[in-house]
């Protein structure tokens, strides 16, 4: 399957090189030099994933990311300055599904993209339940008492992994590996921010979660069904 990628990067040399390398990895790359261009392109071009540099002239990368989230759940990978900076957290909070840091490696980037576009976890059942949430795995939707809750694909996969474990602990490593295809290192913020985002959407009181529970030092588990 050819993956269609929209690359939003203002550095022409990097943009050219990444396009070349991603095309080499089997992606079809569309380039945009700024956020405004990218958003207007999306009206005419359909893509599978957006690669978004956070440092853009004009419209800020974070603003672009938020705008993409308002429009839908198109997967977004942000290119951030540093793994430890607030950039990563800001990008993920703005709705990004994953991040890569410069200097980046095209092979790694392609792996990120493929992991993101993978189907949700091996489906054992088409319907999962966490508390009063109903998850439908075939169309990746969540509802509470019949009213749908909008989750991004990554958020849904996270919730589905926890739900599928039926109250058992899922370790951080397992979650990072299954959802993002990452190893343990470097994934800390990724998981933390996604858990936070997920809780904000599904927990009645995100500060006092009772559906997505933390098992300190190990991982997370969903509220067990009675």
């Amino acid at each position: 399957m050819t993956v269609r990628v929209l690359l939003v990067e203002d550095d022409a040399l990097i943009s050219e090189a990444l396009s070349l390398a991603l095309a080499d990895q089997g992606c079809m790359v569309t380039q945009a030099a700024c956020g405004e261009d990218a958003l207007s392109m999306l009206d005419s071009v359909s893509v599978d994933v957006v690669l978004l540099d956070l440092m853009l002239p004009g419209m800020d990368g974070l603003a672009v990311c938020r705008e993409l989230r308002v429009r839908g759940d198109l997967p977004v990978i942000v290119i951030t300055a540093r793994a430890d900076s607030q950039d990563v957290i800001a990008g993920l909070e703005a709705g990004a599904d994953d991040y890569v840091t410069k200097p980046l490696v095209a092979g790694e980037l392609a792996a990120r993209v493929r992991a993101l576009l993978r189907r949700a976890a091996p489906v054992r059942r088409c319907c999962l339940q966490v508390g009063d949430l109903l998850l439908s795995t075939h169309d990746e939707t969540v509802s509470r008492n019949g009213s749908p809750i909008r989750l991004t694909r990554t958020e849904f996969r996270l919730l589905a992994e926890l739900a599928a474990a039926e109250g058992e602990v899922v370790t951080r490593e397992q979650l990072l590996h299954r959802i993002w295809g990452r190893d343990y290192f470097g994934g800390t913020r990724l998981l933390d921010v996604h858990i936070r985002r997920l809780r904000r959407k599904v927990e009645p009181d995100p500060d006092c979660p009772h559906l997505v529970l933390t098992v300190r030092g190990i991982g997370y588990r969903a509220k067990p069904q009675q």
């Binding site: 550095d11 430890d84 410069k102 343990y184 470097g186 030092g217």
Partner: protein, 478 residues
Amino acid sequence: MNRARLSLRFRVSAAFGLGLLVVVSVLSAATWHLATGYLLNQRQQSADRHSRINARLVDNEVRTQTDGLGELLSGLTSGPNSTILVSLPGGWHTAGRPVRPEALPSGLLSRARPGAPAHDRFTADGVPVLAVAQPLATATGFYVELHPLLGLERTFRNLRLILVAGTLACGLFGVALGAWAARRALRPLAAFTETAARIARGDMRARLPEQAGPDLAPLAETFNSTADALEQRVRRDARFAADVSHELRSPLTTMTTVAEVLERRRDAMPAPAQKALQLLLAELHRFRGMVLDLLEIAAVDQADNGEERELVDLGPLVRSGVASSPAPHPTLDLAPEPLLVAADRRRLDRVLANLLDNAARYGGGAVRVAAHARNGVVRLEVDDAGEGVPAELRERIFERFSRGLHAGRRDPDSGTGLGLAIVADHVYRHDGRVWAEARPGGGARSSWNSPKRAADAVLSRLPDRAARPGNCRCRVRS
């Protein structure tokens, strides 16, 4: 030269003591002279009056020529210690305490004039006396009376005692006052010393408290502005390194990306191009690692706002870290209880990863990773079975771009020289300590101590090369 070595406090004390001693001595001497002079004068005048009356009575007696002179003289003596001597042409007549006329000071009689008696103080047979001599009016002779000065002498002795004791006491008081004043004046210097030492230890934010006193305020101000300048300078240098690294990322991204494209077509290349590409890729890999490490260090140099801290259990962290490490897995020796530290999980991961990487790179791989809590301190140890770290290099290996015995070595497997520096920086940031030591039984151990929650420590053992070949351990302690 000795004086130069005496402490300021000692010198101030001595100056206070000596100064006070001199002043009080002068005052005491003046007091002594005035008081004794006045008292003696009074005594002399009363003795004069007394003697004049007595001399007149003796004159009358001599003129009437009766034989009652001896009786009269006995009646005139005023106490057991007083003596009256009358010199007449027929010889000396004495009454009262016996004193031989020869004991009288020479010249006493010759100085005596009618109406102007002569005085002299001397000790007659152990009794201090005031001698008053005057010529008789009726006959050739002298009337001499010795007034005892026992009471006056006692008063003088007491006065002397009081003055000397008071002078000495004042001197001692001066020393004490000087010591107190010096300590009080120097107290702010202790704060200065402490602050300067903190800056020397790398705490660039250490500043002196504002001084209210006009004497120290300029010093504190100057000190603080110097520290400000120093901090800015250090930050500017750090920012420069960070900026350079940031700027390198973009070209590096382009280069690595393009090199990857080439690598996928390696098989289509002639042999020399393949070889060239291989070198290019290896160097790019190293270059990328170095830039990433520099960025990590630049991040360390930035202020830590503590936002990234959370409670981390070291046990699972070590298990995950070791499992994710590409190197052969070492033996784990982990405490069964939770080892909670307030830490930035990402940095802890990095510390462990770098220690494991160091063990793999230079010590043949980690053979044991241990984490335990002892005395409120969590310790992480990474052991390898390599040749160890020589004792003289055990501190230097934690410096930036220091690669211990491997300095100068450059091959695809050599590190950037920043891995252990990053470890040291991260550990320092967690108020911990990291060190390397010889491992009992061979190899190197690096350990890291970190305060547990508020005051615990984590420690990791890092493989390290030590002095005895085949039998050393390196410990990195935070």
